[in-house]
Amino acid sequence: MQRMLEFVGIDPKRFQARWISGSEGQKFADTVTQLTEDIKALGPNRKLRDVK
């Protein structure tokens, strides 16, 4: 999926897939926090929005 997004010109960092078990609450929280920070650093996504 990341490779496909890159091919259509969208930053692949905006898409993450992780395998986290239901018993790994801390890992889930950490992953989402990290992802949120990464995306905030990238700024708003203008490309997949409706630009009308």
Binding site: R3, M4, E6, F7, V8, G9, R18, D50, V51
Partner: protein
């Protein structure tokens, strides 16, 4: 005996003996440069069937949701036969339900822009035939005609490689211009032998995966999702792009995914070997786990 005569004789034989309920082949269309799919149910109608340079339509798509009770005779080119393998692998069809008469194909001609009737040999080949990897049927019960020599078509990935060289913004601009054209007629999905879901995600409008609005954002969503849904299963028949009324380079996206799958999971040609499982349809302990 010409191939057309052989087709007609074979169709009569199958219908007379009651082996099949009906035959799907091609008949001459309204124009000299058109041959359209035809369903023949009676032996007396078998004379309609023809074979010429315009039998471009892939017939495998007509077998999606075939009644379990029915048995069908089908004429297949290389691309049609890969579609059949796709449907059998996806459990949409049982092998016993089809009698396949293979016809090696020298490529179909494109008469777009031709005004006067000319010899088909003077017309350019269809794009999907230029890029065709399997001109000979990969699965059949009987073969009519001589197998065609298979040429090396590894250059069909060139336009993907060219596009990859561009910057992210240039790539985005390129695809935005393409997706902007899309009218979301879903012809690409309807003709695709890999798009055989009973209910497509785009039709589940109450769930809301895909908004019905036809604008750039939704079109992008549709095209990326469609490509991902056929990833690893696209048989490269090229029907999606040929049927696209807006000339969107759909195969360029499909080929991008084919390239990635070859790289990640090893060389795999979808729809060729009935026994080979699709790389995304099975689990191996040595699968790449980029996201783990």
């Amino acid at each position: 005996m010409s191939i057309t005569e052989k087709i007609q004789a074979k169709a009569k034989e199958l219908l007379d003996s009651g082996t099949v309920n009906y035959i799907i082949g091609w008949e001459k269309g309204t124009f000299w440069h058109q041959s359209t799919p035809v369903f023949v149910k009676k032996a007396a109608d078998a004379d309609k069937l023809i074979w010429d340079e315009f039998c471009i339509n892939s017939l495998s798509t007509y077998l999606i949701r075939l009644d379990d009770e029915l048995k069908v005779g089908l004429f297949v080119k290389g691309c049609d036969s890969k579609g059949i393998v796709r449907l059998i692998q996806d459990k949409q069809l049982k092998r016993e339900q089809v009698v396949l008469i293979g016809i090696p194909c020298n490529g179909m001609r494109n008469a777009k822009g031709a005004v006067e009737k000319t010899e088909p040999a003077n017309l350019p080949l269809e794009q999907k035939c230029i890029e065709c990897v399997h001109p000979n049927p990969v699965i059949y019960d009987e073969l009519i005609g001589e197998p065609v020599v298979i040429a090396d078509k590894s250059d069909r990935f060139n336009d993907v490689l060219e596009l990859e060289k561009l910057s992210p913004n240039e790539k985005y601009q390129y695809w935005a211009a393409q997706f902007e054209k899309c009218i979301r007629c879903y012809a690409c999905r309807n003709t695709c032998p890999a798009c055989n879901c009973k209910e497509c995600y785009v039709d589940q409008y109450r769930v809301g995966w895909q908004n019905k609005a036809v604008d750039l954002a939704e079109n992008q969503m549709f095209h990326v999702t469609r490509a991902m849904h056929v990833a690893g299963r696209c048989v490269e028949c090229g029907e999606c792009q040929r049927q696209c009324p807006m000339d969107i380079p759909i195969m360029q996206m499909n080929r991008k995914l084919i390239m990635e799958i070859n790289e990640l999971f090893g060389e795999y040609a979808a729809g060729v070997d009935l026994e080979a499982k699709p790389p995304l349809g099975q689990f191996k302990t040595d699968d790449p786990e980029e996201f783990m």
